[in-house]
């Protein structure tokens, strides 16, 4: 680490560090809920979630909070991932790792819902 020799450098370090602390701030822009019941895990929820985290890291987007939870009772749609963004809760069903990557790129980062995979959507 080289010495900070100007105001701009310190501010840059601060902004970068802030990004990596978003998980603890409780006010992330996007909330992701991953259903992690036994059925979900058997159906590939872990793989989907891993792909999602990988994609978020690749695209350097940290303004997101990922929460795991139990089964929602929709076993035939597992793995299920729910995205809370801009006041809407959008639920995707049968999410494969590839789908998860696309959801990150289009919905989480850019706010464009991918309608053909959505199984439910309601206002929060």
């Amino acid at each position: 680490m080289a010495k900070i020799s100007s105001l701009e450098e310190l501010r840059k370090i601060r902004n970068d560090a802030k990004e990596s602390m978003k998980t603890r701030s409780g006010n992330a822009k996007v909330r992701v809920f991953a259903s992690m019941g036994t059925v979900g895990i058997a159906g590939g929820a872990r793989e989907a979630l891993k792909a999602m985290i990988d994609e978020l890291e690749k695209r350097n987007f940290h303004d997101v909070e990922i929460v795991e939870g139990g089964s929602m009772g929709l076993d035939n749609e597992e793995p299920i991932i729910r995205i809370e963004r801009d006041g809407f809760e959008t639920t995707y069903g049968k999410v494969t790792p590839d789908m998860a990557r696309q959801i990150v790129a289009q919905h989480i980062i850019n706010g464009q819902m991918i309608s053909e995979w959505v199984i439910a959507r309601n206002e929060k």
């Binding site: 680490m1 010495k3 900070i4 020799s5 100007s6 105001l7 310190l10 501010r11 370090i13 601060r14 970068d16 560090a17 802030k18 990004e19 990596s20 602390m21 998980t23 603890r24 409780g26 992330a28 991953a34 992690m36 019941g37 036994t38 895990i41 979630l49 891993k50 985290i53 978020l56 890291e57 350097n60 987007f61 940290h62 909070e65 990922i66 929460v67 795991e68 939870g69 139990g70």
Partner: protein, 547 residues
């Protein structure tokens, strides 16, 4: 940059480490690795989570906002399997104080009256950031105040802000900090020292430790700001040798500051330079007194010096020196970044801002708390401390450490601020609240305190050296049932002499709890003397010893 979906914060203050926090952290890392989650979950050590009622390890989990306590090495696999992997919160392991306090959101909303008479300014980062990682402090708006001061404020303006805030020193005497800085600034000389008094030796006080262990950079930033304001060139942190973890974390923080260019020559590219190092004490209570502290740094015997000259004109190595307490320095960053007027809006007339207290004794919840000035002692005990332990009756409260004052239950609605407390001959002192229930004997407590002072008196002046020994002897006699009726008069006379004639505050304040006890609990002393009876059943009365 690496993205983690979950942050697990392990409380690692001295108490938690003794309870096995390091082992829990290792177990967490290992189990997370075994579950294949190491790329998704980050384990971070942090300071105290704000309660230390039992010697247990606590962990906080974000973004779920869950606190688990107690966490044992054997429960770690279950937490990883159920919560981290499957997302099921384990209610049974959640913090046991009240089961409904499972999440932090509930804790703050449902417990408004309980926790939220606390106001966290000094401790805002403690338990939320990794104290050994400067980046996390910077992310929590750390060094914003330094940035503001160096690039947009003159040193005089910084002093003005501190004066406007009406901050008073937190070491015990309560001297206005802004004034002290103002006295130090005009004294000429190429070398000026800024010393942080971290020799927290008062029995029952552990509030500075919380800052140094949980958020060391806050204090260091305060010191750099002080140096900028008064023209300081070199700094010392005089810290109690027993605070091993604090020393370690402060040293790491100082190293990181040098690496980042926040200490050393030309800080942040400006022409302001400041060097800082740690000086560890060797366990003498007297070195908490500023001139004794200065002697100790110079390598002399830890004895207080004659005042004047005061340290701002001639302190360390006869150079102008600013000495402030840890908590005082920790207040500075928030004052500079938010302005003196903001700080002045907190608290009450004459006592602005928040104050840390170590809450301990016979009480349900113990720990370091932060309250705005003006909260009453009773409120603290009932709402933050959750009442006296085992539902016993409250006997009294020792406020401000063993050189502080004794409050009886009738005085508990006194607001905690310099002015109101002065009315009942008390003060916030070193910032400790020791609660005593009815099973405590007042003679025994006074004896305990007297033994401490007899041991810690430096011996420089006669009233203190002889007085502490005589008080101790008389109290031993009373406690063993061999007291004489005139002993009470003797105790009062010796106390008065010590207060009037001792050289430094150690001797002047050593008998203060005893004096108040003689006034407020006189009947108990008389019981010991006339009836050879200890009402609380604590003192061991043997009649064999001849007086």
């Amino acid at each position: 940059m690496k993205f983690y979906r979950m942050h697990v914060l392990v409380a690692e203050d001295t108490r938690s480490i003794m309870a096995g926090a390091k082992r829990v952290e290792e177990a967490l890392v290992e189990e997370i690795r075994l579950a294949g989650l190491e790329d998704e979950i980050r384990v971070v050590p942090t300071g105290s989570l704000g309660f230390s009622d039992k010697d247990q390890v606590a962990i906080a989990i974000y973004p779920d906002n869950i606190i688990y306590c107690p966490v044992l090495v054997s429960t770690v696999p279950e937490i990883v399997e159920e919560h981290f992997l499957k997302g099921r919160i384990i209610k049974a392991l959640a913090h046991p104080m009240e089961q409904k306090e499972v999440t932090m959101e509930e804790r703050t909303s449902e417990n408004q009256m309980n926790l939220d008479i606390q106001k966290r300014i000094l401790l805002e980062n403690v338990g939320k950031i990794d104290p050994e990682n400067i980046q996390e402090y910077i992310a929590a708006d750390g060094y914003v105040a330094l940035e503001k001061a160096l690039f947009s404020l003159t040193p005089e303006k910084v002093i003005d802000e501190v004066k406007k805030s009406e901050l008073r020193g937190r070491g015990g005497a309560g001297f206005p900090t802004g004034l002290k800085w103002q006295f130090t600034r005009p004294n000429p000389g190429p070398v000026k020292y800024v010393i942080c008094n971290a020799d927290e030796g008062e029995p029952g006080t552990f509030k500075d430790r919380e800052i140094m262990e949980g958020d060391p950079h806050k204090m260091i930033e305060g010191m750099i700001l002080a140096a900028y304001a008064v023209g300081g060139t070199h700094g010392y942190i005089y810290i109690r040798g027993e605070y091993a973890l604090s020393i370690q974390r402060l040293q790491k923080a100082i190293d990181a500051c040098y690496e980042y260019g926040l200490l050393g020559k030309n800080i942040l590219g400006t022409d302001f330079s400041f060097e800082l190092c740690i000086h560890s004490g060797a366990g003498a209570y007297i070195c908490g007194e500023e001139t004794a502290l200065i002697n100790s740094i110079e390598g002399k015997r830890g004895e207080p010096r004659k005042k004047p000259p005061y340290p701002p004109s001639q302190g360390l190595w006869q150079k102008p020196t600013l000495v402030n307490n840890v908590e005082t320095f920790a207040n500075i960053p928030a004052i500079i970044s938010n302005g003196g007027e903001w700080y002045q809006s907190i608290g009450v007339e004459g006592s602005r801002g928040t104050k840390l207290f170590s809450l301990m004794g016979d009480i349900n919840w113990k720990g370091t708390i932060e309250i705005p000035f003006g909260t009453s002692v009773g409120d603290i005990i009932d709402n933050i401390g959750h009442g006296v332990r085992y539902d016993r009756k409250l006997k009294g409260v020792i406020l401000g450490g063993s050189s502080g004052s004794l409050l009886v239950p009738e005085e508990l609605n006194t607001p905690v601020d310099f002015h109101s407390l002065a009315h009942i001959e008390a003060g916030p002192g070193s910032g400790s609240i020791v609660v005593m229930d009815e099973t405590r004997c007042i003679v025994d407590i006074c004896l305990n305190i007297a033994e401490f002072f007899r041991h810690e008196s430096c011996g420089k002046c006669t009233p203190c050296r002889e007085g502490t020994a005589q008080i101790c002897h008389l109290l031993e006699m009373i406690a063993s049932g061999n007291g004489l009726p005139e002993d009470i008069d003797h105790l009062e006379k010796i106390s008065q002499t010590m207060m009037d004639a001792s050289f430094c505050p150690l001797g002047q304040t050593a008998p203060s709890v005893l004096r108040q006890a003689l006034k407020k609990y006189r009947q108990e002393f008389l019981d010991h003397i006339h009836n050879s009876n200890c009402p609380a059943g604590v003192c061991n009365m043997n009649f064999t010893e001849e007086v």
